[in-house]
C-alpha cells in the first residue's frame, strides 16, 4: 500500500462515525445475498456478531500503518476462521460484500481512489489472515 492509500482508508472510515453499524449490517446483508449457503453458519440473532465485526474492523483499520500490529490481529483472526471452515475462495465473496457495503453507506464519495485503496487494504488483510490460517490449520483438517 502507499501512504496515501492508508490515509484514504483511515479517513473514509473515520468519516463513517456513527454509521459503522450501518456498514456491518449492510455487509451481512450483501454477504448472504451472494452466498445464501453461508447463512446457517451464523446465529439467528446477528446483533452481537455485528458489534464484534465492527470492533474488529475498527482495530484492523487503525493498525494498517504498522504491519506487525496488523499481523497480530489478522493472523489470529484467520486461524479462527479456518476453524469455522472458511476457505480461500470465501475471502473473495467477503471482500466483494464489504466493498459494496461501504459503497452503499459512504455514497458517492466512495469513488475510484478510495475504493481502490480499500480493495488493496482488504487484499492485504485477506492474505495475512490466510497465512495465519495455513499456519494454524494442519493439512487435511
Amino acid at each position: 500500500m502507499t501512504p496515501e492509500q492508508i490515509t484514504l482508508v483511515q479517513l473514509s472510515f473515520a468519516g463513517l462515525g456513527p454509521r459503522v453499524p450501518d456498514v456491518t449490517a449492510r455487509f451481512y446483508q450483501e454477504l448472504f445475498e451472494r452466498a445464501p449457503e453461508l447463512r446457517p453458519l451464523f446465529p439467528t440473532d446477528m446483533a452481537e456478531l455485528q458489534v464484534q465485526f465492527a470492533t474488529k474492523l475498527t482495530e484492523i483499520v487503525h493498525s494498517i500503518p504498522r504491519l506487525d500490529m496488523l499481523l497480530s490481529h489478522t493472523r489470529a483472526l484467520g486461524a479462527r476462521h479456518a476453524a469455522y471452515g472458511v476457505r480461500a475462495a470465501d475471502y473473495d465473496t467477503v471482500g466483494g460484500a464489504l466493498l459494496d457495503a461501504l459503497a452503499a453507506v459512504i455514497g458517492d464519495s466512495f469513488d475510484g481512489p478510495i475504493r481502490e485503496a480499500w480493495a488493496i487494504a482488504y487484499n492485504l488483510v485477506a492474505e495475512t489472515m490466510l497465512e495465519g490460517a495455513a499456519s494454524a490449520r494442519p493439512i487435511g483438517s
Binding site: T2, P3, P65, A119, L124, E131, A134, I139
Partner: protein
C-alpha cells in the same frame, strides 16, 4: 524497520494450496501438475505444498530435473532409490521393473506405508527412466507427485497419462494482479511503499513473482530501495533491464568470491549437505546467501539448494569450463570415498565425471546405459557406452551401442560395432541379439536384405538352443517381409513351433504386417493388439523393436481393412507417445502411416503434410528405406493435388536412394499418378500394370487391389475380374469395396455405383466415394435420367469437398458436367421459391421470354415438368 527475510512471502496462491490439499487427502489423486511461465512461482508453490504436508506429518521428497543431471538414467531420482541400481541377467538386461518394485517397497517400509509427497521440479527435464519410476510410484499410490512444467516445455507422457485418467490435478499458474503485487511488496518490505515506486515495480515486472523478488532483493542490496519514516522509497531507478535473466546475472555478479564458490558448487552438484557446506565456507557465506535469498536450507533433511533453477542456469552458463571440471571431479572424489559401488550415489558421481570429461566407472556407465535402453533413451545409451574405453567394452556394451547407433541412424557405425561385438565372448542370448540387431541394421539401415539373410544364416552356428533358434526363424521372416516378400514370410513363420510369450511377441511383429499385406486384415489387427499387450507384459528386451511397433502394425492392418477412422485415431495417439520418447524410427512410421491413411481418405493436403514430415524425419535420421516410402507418398499426394512438378521432384529425390523392398509394388502408385498429372496416361497405365504384376507375384494382395483399382480409375481399364478374385481371398472391406466399384463401372450400373459410393463414404474414403458418385451421374446422364444424374453429381461434389483439392480424372469429368449454367441456376432458384417469371425478369433485367426459355432448359436438364418438382430437384441437389 530492518527487514529480515527468512522467508519471501507467498501471495495469491491460497486457493492453489487448497487444491493440493484436496487432491492429497482425496486418496484418489496420484498427483498435481503446476503449469506456468518461468518465474511465475511454480517451484515456490510446489515447495510450499511440500512443507505444508511435512508440517502435517507426511513424509516428503524432492527431485529436480536439470540439464546438468539429465545425462544418466535415474540420476535425478537417485534420492528415492533404496539400494543399488538393479541387477543384470544373462541376456545383458537390467530388471528395471524389479528395481522399481524394490524402490516402491523400500519407500513403503521406510515411511510405514504413508504416501511420500514428492516434488518433481521441472519435470520436463527429467530423463525417461526417472519419469518411468515416478509414474510407477505415483500410479501405485506410493508417492503423491507434485510436478512443475514450464510453459512451452514438452509435458511428459507420465503427466498427461495420469491427467487423462483423471488422477492428476492441474493448476495453471499466472502472474500476480496489481493488487496482489501491492500486497506482496507490502509484506516483503514490511510496510507501505511510495506510489511511484510501486508503479515502477509493476511496470517492469508485470506481476511476475520471481522478477519482483529478484528486483526487490537487488534494490535492497544496492541501496536503491530505502526506508524513511516507515515508508519505502526508490532513491535510484530500478535496474534498467527488462529481462529476468539479465537481472539474475547482475545479482550473481555482485557476490563475493567466497559466496560465489558456494553458489557454483550448488549449481553443479546440488543438493549438498548443510554440514559440508558450513565447513567449506566458514566465513558466514552461507548465511549471507540465505539472507540475499539465493539459497534455501531445508533443516529437516539438512540439505542446501539454490533458491531457484534460474540461478543455477545463470551460474553454470557463466562458469569457465575448467573451473566446472575441477569442482565436479573434486565432488566426485569426495562422494566416491564414502559410498559403495553401484549404489544410488554412484549415478551422481558418474554424471559428474562425465560432465567433467573424466573417466567414470565403466560398470556404472553400462548399468546406466541398460537403464536408459529400458526407457528407449538411445542418445544417452550412446553417450554412456562411448564413454567406456574401447578395450573395456564387452559384448553387452557392444550390443547396447550397436543398437543405439542403429536407432539413431548411424548404420555404418552400427555395423562396425556389432560385427566387432560378435567376435567377443558372449552368452547365447547376447550372441542371438547381436545377430538379430546386426541383421536388422543391414536390412533396414543399409538396405541390404541379402546381407541380412546371410547374417541370419551364419548365426545358426552359434545359436543352437531351440527357443533361440526360433527367434532366428522369426527374424528371417521379418527380413523377407520387409524386403517385399509377405508370402514367403508367412511360409517361414509357419516353421515356428514354440508358444512361449517371447516367441509369440517376436512372431507377432512380423505376422501382423504379413497377414495384413496378404489380405488377412482381421487376424492381423488381432495379432497386433495381442502382440502389443504381450510385449508390454514381457517387459522390453534388447534387440526386439519397441512395443510401439505393434501399434504401427495395427494402424497398417486397420488401413488395409479400410477401417480408416480407427487407423487415424490410433496413429495419432501413437505418434504423440513416440514423440515424447524421441524414437525417430517409430515417429517416421507413424507419420508415414498417417499419410497413407489420409491418402486412402482422400485428404490429399493432409497426406502431403504427413509424408513431408515423415520424409524429413527419415532424412534427418538417415533411414533410406522409410524415406523412400515417404517420398513415394509425397509424390502421390502432390500428383493427386495436380502439382506435377512437385511430384516429379519428389520422385527424383527418391531415385537417388537405394532400393527398398517393403511394400515395393505400392511405390509404383507414385510413378503412375505423377504420369497422370503430367498428362501421360499410357505411362501411368504401364506403371500400374507392372506394379500389380509384382504385387501378384509376391502376394501383396491388398496392394494389388489398390493398383488394379487405380488402373480402372486412371485408365478406364476393366480390372473387375481380378479385383473380384482378390476380394474373395481377402477379408478386407476395402478390397471388397474396390471390387464392387470396378464391377459397377464395368456393368455401367448406376445404382451399384451409388452403393459403391455409400460403401466408400462409410469407410471414410471420400475421394473414391466422390468418384463412384460421379460415375453414377455419368451413367444416369447417358440414360437420360437427368434428375438422378444431377443428384448424383451434387453428391459427388459434396464428397469431393472433403478431399482438400484433389483433382483426379474422374472428378474432373464430374466438374465438366455441372448441368445448370450460372444464369439457369439463378433463375431456377427464384422460380423454385415461387417467384413468377415476370418478377424474375424484372429482378434480373431480362425479358420474360428469356426467363421462360431458361426455365424450359432447366426443366429439360433436370427432367422435371413443374415448379413444385423443380424445388424438390434443386433441394435434393443443393
Amino acid at each position: 524497520m530492518a527487514i529480515t527475510l527468512q522467508r519471501w512471502p507467498i501471495v495469491g496462491r491460497r486457493s492453489e494450496l487448497e487444491i493440493f490439499e484436496r487432491a492429497l487427502c482425496s486418496g484418489e489423486q496420484a498427483g498435481l501438475v503446476i503449469y506456468g511461465r518461468a518465474g511465475v512461482g511454480k517451484t515456490r508453490l510446489a515447495d510450499e505444498c511440500r512443507e505444508w504436508a511435512a508440517a502435517g506429518g507426511h513424509p516428503t521428497e524432492r527431485v529436480a530435473g536439470s540439464l546438468a543431471i539429465s545425462a544418466l538414467p535415474l540420476g535425478a531420482v537417485a534420492g528415492l532409490l533404496a539400494g543399488g541400481l538393479g541387477r543384470a541377467g544373462p541376456d545383458g538386461q537390467v530388471d528395471t521393473l524389479g528395481l522399481f518394485e524394490e524402490t516402491r517397497q523400500a519407500l513403503r517400509e521406510r515411511h510405514q506405508g504413508r504416501r511420500v509427497v514428492t516434488v518433481a521440479d521441472d519435470v520436463s527435464e527429467l530423463d525417461p527412466a526417472s519419469l518411468a519410476l515416478l509414474g510407477h510410484l505415483a500410479a501405485q499410490g506410493t508417492i503423491f507427485l507434485i510436478a512443475t512444467v514450464r510453459t512451452g516445455e514438452p509435458v511428459p507422457d507420465l503427466v498427461t497419462g495420469l491427467w487423462r485418467d483423471g488422477r492428476m490435478e492441474r493448476i495453471d499458474l499466472g502472474d500476480l494482479s496489481r493488487t496482489q503485487l501491492d500486497t506482496l511488496l507490502h509484506l516483503a518490505l514490511g510496510g507501505p511503499i511510495e506510489a511511484g515506486a510501486g508503479r515502477e515495480f509493476w511496470d517492469i515486472t508485470a506481476g511476475n513473482p520471481l522478477y519482483v523478488r529478484e528486483l526487490v532483493l537487488g534494490a535492497l542490496e544496492s541501496g536503491a530501495l530505502v526506508e524513511r519514516s516507515g515508508v519505502w522509497h526508490l532513491e535510484d531507478r530500478l535496474s534498467g533491464t527488462n529481462r529476468l535473466l539479465d537481472l539474475v546475472e547482475q545479482r550473481i555478479g555482485g557476490l563475493s568470491a567466497g559466496e560465489r564458490s558456494v553458489v557454483e558448487l550448488l549449481a553443479l552438484c546440488q543438493p549438498l549437505e548443510l554440514s559440508y557446506l558450513e565447513a567449506a565456507a566458514p566465513s558466514g557465506e552461507l548465511e549471507s546467501l540465505e539472507r540475499a535469498g539465493l539459497v534455501t536450507i531445508a533443516f529437516a533433511d539438512g540439505e542446501v539448494r539454490l533458491a531457484h533453477p534460474l540461478h543455477g542456469e545463470v551460474v553454470r552458463g557463466a562458469m569457465p569450463k575448467l573451473r566446472a571440471r575441477r569442482i565436479l571431479l573434486a565432488e566426485a572424489d569426495r562422494l566416491e570415498a564414502v559410498n559403495e559401488a553401484l549404489g544410488p550415489a554412484s549415478l551422481r558421481i558418474a554424471v559428474w565425471r562425465l560432465d567433467a570429461g573424466g573417466r567414470p566407472d565403466p560398470a556404472v556407465l553400462v548399468r546406466g546405459a541398460q537403464l536408459a535402453r529400458h526407457a528407449h533413451d538411445f542418445r544417452v545409451v550412446r553417450r554412456l557406452i562411448e564413454a567406456v574405453p574401447g578395450g573395456e567394452r564387452d559384448a553387452v556394451a557392444a550390443l547396447l551401442l550397436g543398437e543405439a547407433l542403429y536407432e539413431l541412424g548411424d548404420f555404418d557405425g552400427s555395423e562396425r560395432v556389432l560385427a566387432a561385438g560378435q567376435e567377443l565372448p558372449a552368452s547365447e542370448q547376447v550372441a542371438l541379439r547381436l545377430a538379430v540387431t546386426r541383421a536388422k541394421n543391414a536390412n533396414w539401415g543399409l538396405c541390404e536384405p541379402q546381407q541380412a539373410l546371410a547374417i541370419n544364416a551364419r548365426a545358426r552356428t552359434v545359436v543352437t538352443s531351440p527357443a533361440f533358434t526360433e527367434e532366428l526363424v522369426a527374424d528371417e521372416a521379418s527380413i523377407l517381409m520387409f524386403s517385399g516378400h509377405p508370402g514367403q514370410s508367412l511360409t517361414v513363420l509357419e516353421r515356428i513351433a514354440g508358444d512361449d510369450l517371447r516367441t509369440r511377441v517376436v512372431r507377432a511383429i512380423v505376422a501382423a504386417v504379413a497377414l495384413a499385406a496378404t489380405g488377412h486384415t482381421a487376424e492381423a489387427v488381432g495379432v497386433a493388439e495381442t502382440g502389443y499387450a504381450e510385449h508390454v507384459a514381457l517387459g522390453d528386451e534388447l534387440a526386439i523393436a519397441h512395443p510401439a511397433t505393434h501399434v504401427v502394425n495395427q494402424v497398417f492392418a486397420l488401413a488395409e481393412a479400410g477401417r480408416l477412422a480407427e487407423a487415424e485415431q490410433l496413429a495419432r495417439a501413437g505418434a504423440e507417445i513416440v514423440a515424447t520418447y524421441r524414437i525417430p524410427i517409430a515417429q517416421i512410421w507413424f507419420a508415414a502411416n498417417l499419410g497413407r491413411v489420409a491418402t486412402l481418405q482422400g485428404r490429399m493436403a493432409t497426406a502431403r503434410r504427413y509424408f513431408a514430415e515423415a520424409a524429413g524425419l527419415a532424412q534427418a535420421n538417415h533411414f533410406a528405406g522409410p524415406r523412400r516410402m515417404a517420398l513415394t507418398g509425397l509424390a502421390l499426394a502432390h500428383a493427386m493435388l495436380g502439382d506435377a512438378s512437385a511430384a516429379a521432384a519428389a520422385l527424383a529425390e527418391r531415385a537417388a536412394l537405394p532400393e527398398f523392398g517393403f511394400l515395393s509394388p505400392e511405390q509404383r502408385l507414385a510413378d503412375a499418378w505423377t504420369a497422370v498429372a503430367s498428362r501421360q496416361p499410357m505411362e501411368a497405365k504401364r506403371y500400374l500394370s507392372d506394379g500389380a504384376a509384382e504385387a501378384a507375384a509376391t502376394m501383396h494382395r491388398v496392394a494389388e487391389s489398390w493398383l488394379l483399382h487405380d488402373l480402372m480409375r486412371v485408365g478406364r481399364q476393366d480390372t473387375s475380374a481380378r479385383l473380384g478374385e482378390l476380394a474373395a481371398v481377402c477379408d478386407s472391406p476395402l478390397v471388397a469395396a474396390r471390387a464392387r466399384h470396378a464391377a459397377a463401372v464395368a456393368a455401367r450400373n448406376a445404382d451399384e455405383l451409388g452403393a459403391a459410393a455409400d460403401g466408400f463414404e462409410a469407410m471414410g474414403a471420400m475421394l473414391l466415394a466422390a468418384e463412384a458418385a460421379a460415375g453414377a451421374a455419368d451413367v444416369f446422364q447417358r440414360a437420360g435420367e437427368q434428375r438422378a444424374a444431377t443428384a448424383a453429381l451434387r453428391r459427388s461434389q459434396e464428397l469431393a469437398a472433403a478431399c482438400e483439392g484433389a483433382t483426379t480424372p474422374a472428378l474432373f469429368y464430374a466438374a465438366a458436367h455441372e448441368p445448370l449454367s450460372r444464369r439457369e441456376r439463378e433463375i431456377a432458384m427464384l422460380a423454385a421459391e415461387g417467384m413468377a417469371s415476370k418478377d424474375i425478369a424484372e429482378r434480373l433485367y431480362l425479358s420474360v421470354r428469356t426467363v421462360d426459355n431458361h426455365l424450359q432448359r432447366v426443366y429439360t436438364k433436370l427432367g422435371v415438368t413443374n415448379r413444385a418438382d423443380l424445388a424438390k430437384a434443386l433441394g435434393s441437389s443443393s
